[in-house]
């Protein structure tokens, strides 16, 4: 084989470009001039053109892997599985501090106060869950929350997904807590009675301590039987105070303790259809475990309760 002429070596890339239909005018001219005098490169050019024709053929040919229907079906099932496991989340600088909001395709599944922006979230440690940040999806939730914190709405009508609940017991506690209306408070002991486990007061408190969706499920409306706020989301009792104050509940804060003043609230016994003044009959001597308290008559009446016919809170309302 004779050694390749340097000009031929140089022109080869241009031949490829011309055959591929990608040559600039200058390259095309060079090629034209060269192949006019070089039979060997003329041959190469036509072979490159033949390759392009065959590639066109290859492009049109079916996939070398054949039918993809099965592969597609398997992909769909794995995607469905991933979709079920996926939580999208966003972290927002709320008036209550940095807060993480996460939801699944079923509903809101986590509301978490972060001690500081970038703090490790509970999401990281959850088996069987994949978390992906998505501000677009979670921002509407944040806007609802802001409206709530500014008093523009009294409930977060979010579909909830309680998959992060740790037990059926906790799920039951959360479900009962979800029924506490805006502006009302009840006690851990009262909730324990509600779920038919009157001796489980501490377990109820624990269950609420790990409430995956605080505010949405208003565990801040559950307090100790003495009226003490006791705790909230670990060590955030000041937030509990704030959330209750927003609803019109009078909370007294003295020397690090926060307590609800029963004497400033209307009350009803669980199960009764009427609400009373705190001084009605034997109410003031009853344990908070037996009572639900309301910040105002409107709050009590908006849940369908009627004023008591003996103490008449409608005629002798408490001072605002």
């Amino acid at each position: 084989m004779s050694p390749i002429h340097p000009a031929c070596r140089k022109i080869e890339t241009d031949l490829v470009a011309v055959a591929a239909g990608e040559a600039a005018a200058a390259e095309a001219h060079r090629v034209q001039a060269h192949v006019a005098v070089c039979a060997s490169c003329r041959g190469d050019l036509s072979r490159y053109r033949a390759v392009e024709v065959m590639l066109g053929d290859l492009r049109e040919s079916p996939s070398p892997a054949g039918d993809v229907t099965l592969a597609r079906a398997e992909l769909e099932s794995r995607l469905a599985d991933l979709r079920r496991r996926l939580l999208v989340f966003g972290v927002f600088a709320s008036p209550l501090g940095p807060i993480l909001l996460a939801r699944s395709e079923e509903g809101v599944s986590l509301v978490q106060y972060l001690d500081r922006a970038g703090a490790a979230s509970r999401l990281a440690a959850l088996p069987g869950i994949e978390a992906v940040e998505d501000l677009r999806e979670t921002e509407p939730l944040y806007r609802d929350l802001l409206d709530y914190l500014r008093g523009r709405r009294t409930r977060l009508d979010w579909p909830l997904d309680l998959r992060l609940a740790r037990s059926d017991f906790q799920r039951r506690v959360l479900e009962v807590t979800a029924g506490l209306p805006y502006g009302a408070v009840a006690s851990y002991a009262g909730l324990a009675r509600q779920i038919g486990a009157p001796s489980a007061t501490r377990a109820v408190a624990q269950a609420l301590r790990w409430n995956p969706v605080p505010i949405a499920i208003p565990c801040h409306r559950v307090i100790g039987s003495s009226g003490d706020l006791t705790g909230y989301a670990g060590n955030k009792v000041a937030l509990k105070h704030r959330l209750l104050a927003l609803e019109g509940v009078h909370v007294l804060a003295t020397r690090g303790t926060h307590r609800v003043d029963r004497r400033t609230m209307y009350a009803r016994q669980w199960g009764d259809a009427e609400y009373c003044l705190p001084s009605c009959g034997s109410l003031s001597r009853r344990s908070l475990a037996e009572l639900e308290l309301f910040a105002s008559r409107e709050r009590a009446e908006s849940t369908g309760l009627a004023p008591c016919t003996s103490c008449r809170p409608d005629l002798h309302p408490l001072p605002a």
Partner: protein
């Protein structure tokens, strides 16, 4: 609430691109089973990431980039497992060209290209397949490979030169320049 998750948009992405991505990976890896796995992985990754995708982004080029990365990782791992990887023939339909001799040679050559492509260095194979089979532009190919559009073009041209030389052993029917 499920509908708000943007799943409709992603279902469209799968419907529009799965077959093509699968075909791309099948050609690059030369194995149907790898194509099943890697195309699945491509779309699972895409599903996790597409929320962060800028509106108006070129979804097709983005999927090719994910698939290309997975192919590269796949061959890196493969290379570790056994130094030289033996090419395994594809189990798939082959088109039989019956007819005049020229056409038979042409079909053989066409099949031969597949064979030559599997012997190319990985980056050339990826660049060549994206350009010549899937018609992506050099910008998109460069992004997939992490190189400039010019280097992407150089990879494709290198591949074409090797294919031409590989076919020289066969008597290829020439297409004469039209004149």
């Amino acid at each position: 609430m499920s509908k708000a998750m943007g799943d409709d948009a992603f279902e469209t992405i799968v419907a529009d691109h799965h077959a093509e991505i699968h075909r791309y990976i099948a050609r690059v890896t030369a194995r149907a089973s790898e194509a099943d796995d890697l195309s699945q992985e491509t779309f699972l990754r895409a599903y996790r990431a597409y929320r962060a995708l800028a509106p108006g982004a070129n979804v097709r080029a983005w999927l090719f980039a994910i698939a290309t990365n997975l192919c590269k990782n796949h061959f890196r791992a493969e290379g570790r497992r056994r130094r030289a990887h033996a090419t395994v023939k594809l189990a798939g339909p082959r088109i039989e060209h019956d007819g005049p001799d020229g056409e038979a040679v042409f079909a053989e050559a066409s099949a031969r290209i597949d064979g030559i492509v599997t012997t190319l260095p990985l980056r050339q194979r990826l660049a060549f397949t994206m350009r010549k089979i899937h018609d992506l532009d050099y910008g998109a190919i460069g992004q997939s490979l992490g190189c400039s559009p010019d280097s992407a073009r150089a990879h494709v041209f290198q591949a074409l030169k090797k294919i031409r030389r590989g076919l020289d052993a066969l008597a290829i029917p020439h297409t004469e320049p039209e004149r």
